[in-house]
C-alpha cells in the first residue's frame, strides 16, 4: 500500500532518508564532527543539536512522502521540510566553505541543497494542485 507512494516520489524519499540517516549518524554517541571543517559549524551549535535537526527534518519529510496523498497536508509538509533541508544544507556549505572552499564536502552539500530545492519545487506544485483541485470541486 505504502510502496507506490514512495516510488512516485523517489528523489524525495531518497533525500529525506539520507537527511534522517545523517542526523542519526551525528546523534550516535560518538564524536563525528571532529575534523577542522566541522569546527566552524560547531561554533553555531552543538553536534547533538545539528544531529537532532537533521534527524527531525529527515524523519518528518520521509513520513510525509510515505503517506503522500493519503492526508491533505502531506504536500505542504513536504514543501516545508524540503525548504528546511535546503536551508540546513546551505548552512553546512557555508561552514565547509569557510574552512576550505576546495573541500569535497562543499560540492556534495551543494548537490544535496540543489536536490532539496528540486523537491521543494515539486512538492509546492503538488500543494498548489491540491488546493486548486479542492477549489474546483474535484476533490472533497
Amino acid at each position: 500500500m505504502i510502496i507506490p507512494h514512495i516510488t512516485k516520489r523517489p528523489t524525495e524519499a531518497w533525500l529525506s532518508g539520507i537527511t534522517g540517516g545523517l542526523g542519526l549518524w551525528i546523534v550516535f554517541p560518538s564524536t563525528s564532527m571532529a575534523t577542522a571543517g566541522y569546527k566552524m559549524l560547531l561554533e553555531v551549535t552543538s553536534e547533538l543539536q545539528w544531529g537532532l535537526m537533521f534527524m527531525f527534518i529527515g524523519l518528518a519529510h520521509f513520513i510525509s512522502v510515505l503517506i503522500n496523498g493519503m492526508r491533505w497536508w502531506t504536500p505542504f509538509t513536504r514543501a516545508i521540510m524540503s525548504a528546511s533541508t535546503a536551508i540546513l544544507y546551505a548552512t553546512w556549505i557555508y561552514g565547509f566553505w569557510v574552512a576550505n572552499p576546495a573541500s569535497t564536502a562543499v560540492f556534495i552539500y551543494i548537490c544535496m541543497c540543489v536536490c532539496a530545492m528540486r523537491c521543494f519545487f515539486y512538492s509546492l506544485r503538488d500543494a498548489a494542485e491540491k488546493v486548486e483541485a479542492v477549489r474546483n470541486g474535484i476533490y472533497s
Partner: protein, 102 residues
C-alpha cells in the same frame, strides 16, 4: 577565512529568496495542472481505469475458460482410456473363466 555566525542569516535569507523564486512557477504549474483536470476529466479517468480493470478480468476469465476446456478434453481422453482398460480386464476375466473350465 574567518568564521562569523552573522552571514548565516544572510545565507538563510538567500536560500529563502531562491526558494521563493522557485515557488512562484511551481504554484503556477500546480494551478494550471489542476485547472486542466475538470470533474469530467476526473470521471473519464476513473471510467478508463474501470474499463481496463474489467478488460483484465475478462481476459483472465477467458484464460480460465480455456484451461477448463483443455481439462475437459483431457478428462474425456482419460475416461476413454479407462473404458479401454475395463474392456481389456473384462476380456482377461472371460479368458480366465474359460481356462479354469478346461
Amino acid at each position: 577565512m574567518e568564521f562569523t555566525p552573522e552571514p548565516i542569516s544572510a545565507i538563510v535569507a538567500a536560500v529563502a529568496a531562491a526558494l521563493a523564486a522557485l515557488g512562484i512557477p511551481a504554484l503556477r504549474q500546480g494551478i494550471a495542472s489542476a485547472k486542466k483536470a475538470s470533474p469530467e476529466d476526473h470521471l473519464k479517468e476513473s471510467l478508463d481505469a474501470n474499463t481496463k480493470a474489467q478488460q483484465s478480468m475478462l481476459d483472465q476469465f477467458k484464460h480460465n475458460n480455456n484451461l477448463f476446456v483443455s481439462l475437459g478434453t483431457k478428462l474425456d481422453q482419460a475416461n476413454t482410456h479407462l473404458k479401454d482398460i475395463e474392456h481389456i480386464q473384462q476380456r482377461i476375466h472371460t479368458e480366465l473363466v474359460r481356462n479354469s473350465r478346461k
